[in-house]
Symmetry: C2
Amino acid sequence: MSRALNRSDLEEANAEFYAAIEAGDLDRMSAVWADGTYADGVCCVHPGWSMLRGREEVLRSWALIMANTSYIQFVLTEVEADVYGDQAVVTCKENILTADEDTEAGFLAGGSIVASNVFVRSSGEWRLLLHHGSPILNVTEEE
Amino acid sequence: MSRALNRSDLEEANAEFYAAIEAGDLDRMSAVWADGTYADGVCCVHPGWSMLRGREEVLRSWALIMANTSYIQFVLTEVEADVYGDQAVVTCKENILTADEDTEAGFLAGGSIVASNVFVRSSGEWRLLLHHGSPILNVTEEE
């Protein structure tokens, strides 16, 4: 276990995932996710959704979300990154500002999502294998 | 990548996680989760909760949940297991039957949770590193 190894590369890969959503850029999003032998194992849970499986299905969902999002901005907090050989786990809280075209101009909604992101090292790059995001609904015992 | 390697051991480790919850047995639950050098990286999201980090905090949350659950039963569907060297990802849908002591006797509530479970191979055993469960709230584009 090399917790420190490639940690900044890993945090950069994690940040690029959110930057791709903010930019609404499906090409950048495609480059974020694992491919090749990992493609079938790619999986994604959007907040409140069920599991999506396979690179193609996951990217299709992002295309749909991007097409229906006029503005979204992420402020990440509580970012924790651990490297385990050629795999890595990043967890973070997504503090989201968003606007919807169906609502009145200027309307912004906020929300907090907790995310688990599992990366694999592929051809020297960290690529996203699993993203699981879920709404924070309850106050936990700690708070 | 060896998708087939140790897949049944992996599915057994995943099933033991849910069996430990059903049995309300914290010792069995302790044996499910990764320990040693992995202990700090252990993380868990209960449905609607924020992220819990570290083996101790995660096990404390399970003790609390077990103390407040008189009856719970899991039927797992859509179980998918992928092995990546010494790490593995299991995803599944938790179909839950539960009863709460505060409600009238015999009351059972159901619910569906989507779960991502990341395991690490430690001393020849699959141990749970990350569990992320979240409520299924929306109908996805696929349904």
